[in-house]
Each structure stands twice: as structure tokens, then as C-alpha cells.
Symmetry: C4
Subunit: 208 residues, 4 copies
């Protein structure tokens, strides 16, 4: 699927998707202390993106900015904007991106950091992701080291993900999860599926 297949969105439409993702994550405790950020692609050059410092649980349009995918950084852009924008530049089929800090994502991302990936396999809920038709599926979720230089981290992420196909999300060690979809609605569905799978894995590892 190319981005030409994704219909262009006006800023206010895209912002509604950003707000829906942010409130969904906020209600579930996945964006503590104004962490997390969310975006929706408008077209090939712009995306609606949460502004730095916004309270995600109560987000409204004033906390959403229009960011250029390949242009200069918006003054109110979150420090993690490059991690969103590089994904839009690299993958035309991505229409919405969520970054959350759930407990399971945070703990497992660090526990498996040295391996460089977290293997999840055999669970029915893997079928929540597009193109997955059986639980007999192996996901090696990439884990990248955390880095406060988000331009450098975005370049590393894109290098790592270029070898992983299909890829529905990745973890940053000790930090959290990035997950996406063609629409905000599907990004929410994938967020829920990842959190469920990671929480299941957290219990599973504790029990073995």
C-alpha cells in the first residue's frame, strides 16, 4: 500500500485522530506525567502531532501542531518528533503513530535490550495486526537503545526497521513502545493489542 492510497486529511480531521489516540492512552495510564506522543499523517509532507508538554488525558486541538515531515522542527514540537516524522518519510502506508509508556513495554524493553528484540509467538491476539492470519506467527519486536539525540535515534530506528518486514511497532529500551496503523482507529487497535501481548508476556516470563 502506498501513501497515495491514504486519503489526505485536513489539519482538524487529523487532530481529531491525535486526540482520540491520546485520550485512549491517557485513560489506560499509558502516558504518565505528560509523557507519550501521538500523530496522524495529513499528506506526504505534513502530520498533526502532539505539542511538547501537553497533558494527553485532556488533550484538545490547542495541544496539537502541524509538523513538516521533512522540514525544520516546529518550535512546539515534542523532542521525539523525529521518531514520528522519520517513520512517515520511510513508510507511506503509515497514517497514524502512537508512542506510549506502559509498564509492560517499559520493563520488557529493558529486560531484552541486549538481545535487541523481544520474541512474541503463538498468541491468538497476534492476529490483531494486518496480514496476520494465524497464531502460529513469530514477532521479533525490535528493541533499540534509548538516546536523547532523537535525530540519531530516528536514523538508527529506520536502519533497524528496514530489515524487518512486516513491522508493526518497536520498543525503546527502558522507555516505551512505538506502534502505528493506516488510520488512528487502527493505531488504537494495535496499541491495545501490543499492550495485551506485552502484559501477557510479562506474566508468562514471570511464571516460567
Amino acid at each position: 500500500m502506498s501513501s497515495e492510497m491514504l486519503p489526505p486529511l485536513e489539519f482538524s480531521e487529523a487532530a481529531q485522530g491525535v486526540i482520540a489516540m491520546a485520550r485512549h492512552a491517557g485513560a489506560r495510564g499509558w502516558v504518565p506525567a505528560t509523557s507519550g506522543n501521538f500523530s496522524v499523517r495529513m499528506n506526504d509532507t505534513s502530520a498533526a502531532l502532539t505539542a511538547t508538554g501537553a497533558n494527553k488525558e485532556q488533550l484538545d486541538e490547542s495541544g496539537v501542531i502541524e509538523a513538516l515531515i521533512a522540514g525544520p522542527r516546529h518550535p512546539r514540537a515534542s523532542a521525539e518528533a523525529p521518531l514520528h516524522l522519520a517513520r512517515y518519510a520511510a513508510a507511506p502506508e503509515i497514517g497514524a503513530i502512537a508512542h506510549i509508556h506502559s509498564i509492560a513495554a517499559t520493563v520488557l524493553s529493558r529486560r531484552h535490550e541486549k538481545a535487541g528484540f523481544l520474541r512474541i509467538e503463538g498468541w491468538e491476539l497476534l492476529k490483531a495486526f494486518p496480514g496476520v492470519t494465524t497464531h502460529e506467527t513469530v514477532f521479533d519486536i525490535p528493541i533499540v537503545p534509548n538516546d536523547q539525540d532523537t535525530d540519531r535515534m530516528a536514523a538508527l530506528v529506520e536502519e533497524r526497521l528496514s530489515n524487518v518486514s512486516p513491522c508493526h511497532g518497536y520498543l525503546i529500551a527502558g522507555h516505551g513502545l512505538y506502534v502505528w496503523g493506516d488510520t488512528a482507529t487502527n493505531a488504537i487497535r494495535h496499541m491495545d493489542a501490543f499492550d495485551f501481548l506485552l502484559t501477557t508476556e510479562l506474566h508468562w516470563e514471570g511464571m516460567r
Copy 2:
């Protein structure tokens, strides 16, 4: 109890029961990412059933279809419809069925897959199920392997359950729980009881 004892329901009455079960499960996080499905028997030949892909937390009647228990598959039926319909065909006393993906059901179903059952015994809440009058009760909850061919899985389930009496639910390994009752209200009660018992068991196994 034969199905003749269950009063026939109009589609809209049955759909209300489906919606009540779906929203109950949705509010508790048991149907992540549009997973899970719910049904209520209308009579000996039909049941109201959640359509494929419906968001269970916000289900309304547009997300419920009327499915034939022994007829051709409805075009909007969930892939798991056979697992509901085979139960109605086999057990006339069943009036409502819920399929949920709770964390405890998912983890324990896989942990005990090789044994083929999960034994739960000695807990007071076992009395939530009909005919159980003492905590000195042993439930061997059947666990069947997951299978994307749901017609084949339904046949296996019915074969397994034909040897288990009474039976109030079963697990699919790495997948989730099927549970039922004579009415939607009782299926909700049994859903809550199973989740409580399985969560208790998850802690219990972790502590020993």
C-alpha cells in the same frame, strides 16, 4: 433442562443481551483490539451474534447479526461463529455464550495446554456456577489447542466436552475463554466468576 424450557426471544431482545455481555467485557479489558465475541440463542434454529470486527466496548445493534445454528455461514459472521453455533446445537440448555481474552485465561490456557485441562478446586467462588453447592468441588476446565480452522476446532471442542459433565466453560490455548449460561445475565455472572477464579489461580501458581 431442554431448550424447550428456554423461552424464544425476538432478535432485538437477544441483541440486547449480546450488547450487555459485550459492554460488560469491554469495560473490564477482556476484549482488546476488537477481539472476543458474544451470542444469545433466539430459538432452536437461530442466535444473535456479534458481527466480525465490531468494537465490543461500544457495541450497538448494528454490530449484531442473526445467525442460523445449522445453516450457511452469515457473510458478516465472525470467524469464530462455529464455536458458538456448535454449542447451541449440542446443548439445548445454553442460552447465551461469551468468548473473552482476559490476561489470566490467556496465560493459564497456554501454561496448562499439555495437560489438556486446568484444575481449579477448593475456592468458594466455584459456587457461582449452577448446581455447585460446595467449595469442595473440582473443576477440570478443558483446554483445546488453538486452530484457525474453526469448524475443525468446534468439532474437537464438542468431542472433548461430551465427556465433561457438568461443564461451564473451556479454554483455547494461548487464545482465551468460552463461557455460557441459560441467559445473558447468567453468562455475565459466569464470565466474572471465571475471571476471578483464573486470576486467583494465576497468583496462586506464582506463589507456590
Copy 3:
């Protein structure tokens, strides 16, 4: 404090306290599948008590009965009514009783059943109970075996508790918690304190 110090309540006042306790517990998941029961003393001879089978999360006055503390069993009384009424007969300072099924109470009550008590000590929240002025306090919470003959169990409980002073609650193995206070408001406070202490203990035992 003697029961003469507790002001007599009309049925409707006492029922309001029963409803407040039931909804508080229901909202926290402590009365799954219509389990649990709640009562408020009206005077030396009667108490308002949840009727058998009532949904505690949505309790209203129609689900509350007036039970005689020492008289014949009310036809709609819960099977566990004797465990409430024997406490009122034995302890005039008790004005309200809650019986809940929390995960921590259920797991720990069975884990420590052989010891006959669960020792909790050193936590600040022990001060939530009347007369406790320091965290340097030891609570040996009695644990009695479960028994479907609730008259017999009530007699055993009263025998056990006659040696424990002060006593703010007890556990039934694999079943749940009984807790009380002079008023419904204080019984709610003690319910919350017990659940917090038992959940803390569950983590503590898992960590050692």
C-alpha cells in the same frame, strides 16, 4: 463501647448504609458474580442485610431485607446471614459488617490456612483501625476453614474471635474477608485498609 452507644437506625437509614458498602465494594471488583454480602445493625434485635442473589454493584433497597439477630431465618436471607448475625449478637460495638471476595484476601486466606492466622505487622496503614496508634503493631488475622454449614461456621468463628482482642476482621480460607466497624462509613474505611494491607502483603510475600 456497648451497643447502647450505637444509636438505633430505621430500616431505610440502615439500608442506605448497606447500599453504600455494596456499591463501594462492587466498584472495586470485590463482589464478583453476585458474591459478598453487607449488613448494618438497626438495634439490639434487627439488622438490615443484603438479600440472597442481589447484584451488589447495582444494589437498591429492594435487595435489602430486615433480619432478626436471634430469630428465625428470613426467607430471602443470604446463606451467610448467620456469620453477620452472630457477630452482632456477640459484639455490641459492631454497627456494620462487610463480606468481600478480593483477590488478595482469597489467595492469602488459603495460603496461610494451616497456620490459622495471617500475621501483618509494621505497616503504617494498620493505624486505619480504631485504637491503633502506631505502625509497630502486630495483627494476627484469624483464618477459619470454609464450611457450607454457616451456622456451624458462625459458632466456630465466634469461638475463635473470643480469644482475639481487639479484632477488626477475619478470613475464611479460599473464600474471603469479613470486616466491620461501628458505622457503615467506618466499615468502608476498614474494608479499604484491609484490601490495601492484604495486597501489600501479597506483593511482599512474592518478593521475599
Copy 4:
């Protein structure tokens, strides 16, 4: 930052901050059984503070008092008032203080009591605190022994904290967490960040 930089607040403004912190904590289960307390500095001599025994989940202005930072104890002041007031006296940059009893804070504070501190390092969410710009940060959160003489405990806390800079909060063993910020809004943000970090740590320690 000196307290001269914090604008003075009227009692009713400060009380609104106290109420916002208390309800935030109440909704998350961090102040069970009327535990916890909250304050907002008005100026160099006074602070708005929760009264003893107030139900924090439903706090309104009637449950908030004006306390003198260095004067005689207010008759309705919580027993823990000295722990708030000594912080305001020692640290002019503190504008709001929250004391909560979360499960993670309670368990970890006691587990690490002998060490005298809990080390937390390497997590992205450490950046929620002012002046922290990288996850490559080490927080040694001080842990003081619990003591029912809160004047004595406050003196010990201030002695301990005088050697820790910067410091964003501390634990009392088996009791809970104190956390602060320049405003009530930021104290809420720091409360959420601490709870997330401590819950993550609880899982992390259980897994190693």
C-alpha cells in the same frame, strides 16, 4: 529558585490545588482509608493543608485548613503536618507537597529500608523531574524509618535531605511517599512519575 519567585496565593486558590492533588490521588487508589495528605504553599508563612481524617477522594474546601509554617499546630491539622511544613521552611522553591500510599511505594520503601535509599536509574521517565535531561540519571531516593513522632521524623528527614541535591521526593519505610513541585500541577505530574517508576521497579525486582 527562591520562594520570592513563587507568587503568593490566596487560601481559596491554594485550597483548589490541594483538592486537585487529593482527588487525583483518590481516583488512583493512592490514599486508601482516608490516608494521605496534601498541601499548597500560600506564602513564606502559611500553607493550605488537608485536615485530619478528610476523605481525599471527595475533598472539598471544608476539609482544607490554613496552617502556619512555623507557628503553633492547627487544631485540625493532620498528625503529619510537620512533614509538610518543615519542607516549606527548608526549601523555598517548593510550592506544593503530596503524601500518598501507593502499593509500590509501600512495598519498596520497606524492602530497601536497611539500605536507606532506593536506587532508580536508566528509565526515560526520570526526565519527568525538573532539571533531568537524560535517562542516564541515577536517583537515590532517600528512605527514612517510620516514626509516630512526626516532629522528630521531620527533623530527621530535613537532615537527610540536606545532603541530597537535587531531591524530588523521599520514602518512609512501610508507610509511603512524599513528593513535591513548584505548583500543584507539577506535584501531580511528579506523583504520577514516581508511581510509574516505582511500579516499574517493583516488576523489575520481581523479574531479576
